[in-house]
């Protein structure tokens, strides 16, 4: 019996030789338990070792292997070939980011934006170790727990046309993480984060397309975080308007 095969079309870009990216087609064995990442690894190991892409855990935890698969942002370790077979699979680097090489996207912009929203607990007062842990009830934890699931895979940025059209937009994952720490009862850093989160380039550049939440492989729902931040920021604005002498 002849082996079942599948065609994989990959957008290649080798900056030292290519002016523009172009598709290259590879034929790989078809296995119903293979994901797109397995096909890429097969190509790299057996057909073309010059192919470049990022990956690490192969289990939807590290967030490294995000790519456009048939035009949809997906983790390549989470996209089974059986969902595409016998049709060919088209693999491209994440949309809305510059291409470094082949399937490797330049993510520096996101890293800077993530850092700008201070995604860590900023306590009201430093707490000595012998004072014990910060206690939190399950209800307090559940208020923000879903947002802690973000793996920075950037599928939400690739799904967001607003980020593609307005590159200054801080974007879904960074704003969801800002919201995550704002909701944390151990945190007192909201005012510092608001400088970025409540700016025009922050939540107000979001036009609520909602595709970030659809693309998220960890059900983080960044669109919800952004809308909630918009409401909280609007309440801040009205409070400041009605009581300009009050504490913001």
């Amino acid at each position: 019996m002849t082996e079942q095969t599948l065609q994989v079309e990959i957008l290649r870009y080798r900056p030292e030789t290519d002016q523009d990216p172009a598709f290259q087609t590879y034929t790989v064995p078809y296995r119903d338990d293979w994901v797109v990442l397995d096909a890429l690894n097969h190509i790299k190991d057996n057909i073309d070792r010059t192919l470049s892409y990022r990956w690490s855990c192969h289990m939807a935890v590290c967030g490294s292997c995000g790519m456009m698969i048939n035009g949809e942002p997906k983790l390549s370790c989470h996209a089974f070939l059986r969902d595409y077979y016998p049709n060919k699979v088209r693999v491209e680097p994440l949309a809305n980011f510059p291409i470094e090489r082949d399937l490797v996207a330049v993510t520096d912009d996101f890293m800077e934006k993530l850092e700008s929203v201070k995604p860590y607990v900023i306590p009201q007062q430093e707490r000595a170790v012998d004072e014990g842990p910060h206690l939190q009830t399950p209800a307090q934890l559940n208020a923000f727990k879903q947002y802690t699931m973000c793996i920075n895979c950037l599928l939400c940025y690739a799904a967001c046309p607003q980020y593609g059209l307005t590159p200054d937009f801080v974007g879904p994952a960074a704003l969801a993480l800002a919201h995550r720490y704002n909701l944390d009862t151990r945190d007192a850093g909201r005012e510092q984060r608001q400088e970025i989160a409540a700016s025009n380039e922050g939540v107000w550049d979001c036009t609520f397309v909602g595709e970030c939440s659809q693309a998220c492989p960890k059900s983080v729902d960044p669109a919800a975080a952004i809308q909630q931040t918009k409401i909280a920021s609007t309440i801040d604005w009205y409070k400041a308007l009605l009581n300009p002498w009050g504490k913001r």
Binding site: I99, V209, G210, E211
Partner: protein, 128 residues
């Protein structure tokens, strides 16, 4: 080795690339019709303030084929506007009781309930 990152431009037809993008653009476009209809009501009020004949002429103009087409389109886009925004409301209004996060269903239903009550109120006032 020097770097030469390649930035792909977003095509102008990006909103046709996925059905969800097209639905989003329909929701965005709906505000034009909502705005135009609001303007029409303001014009109607202005004509009413000018007198019975002027208001009668305004009502006659509403019977024109162009006006009927506009009203039909405005109705379709008003429905798109309402249904799509109501379905998104739970994202902005999360419900949590104790440890449990509730589904968005009650928030959406509450929006429809308020819509029906307000519409009934407007109809009631119009009959008086």
């Amino acid at each position: 080795m020097s770097r030469k990152p390649y930035l792909r431009k977003m095509p102008k037809s990006w909103w046709l690339a996925r059905r969800s993008y097209t639905s989003y653009m329909a929701r965005e476009l709906s505000c034009v019709f909502i705005g135009a209809y609001s303007l029409l009501i303001v014009v109607g009020l202005h004509r009413l303030s000018q007198g019975r004949d002027e208001y009668g002429a305004f009502l006659d103009a509403l019977q024109s084929p162009l006006s009927l087409v506009f009203h039909a389109a405005a109705l379709v886009f008003a429905l798109i506007h309402t249904v799509s925004w109501f379905s998104l409301a739970p994202k902005a209004m999360p419900l949590q009781i104790g440890e449990k996060k509730l589904s968005g269903g009650p928030v959406v239903l509450a929006h429809y309930a308020v819509w029906i009550v307000v519409s009934a109120g407007v109809l009631l006032v119009a009959r008086i």
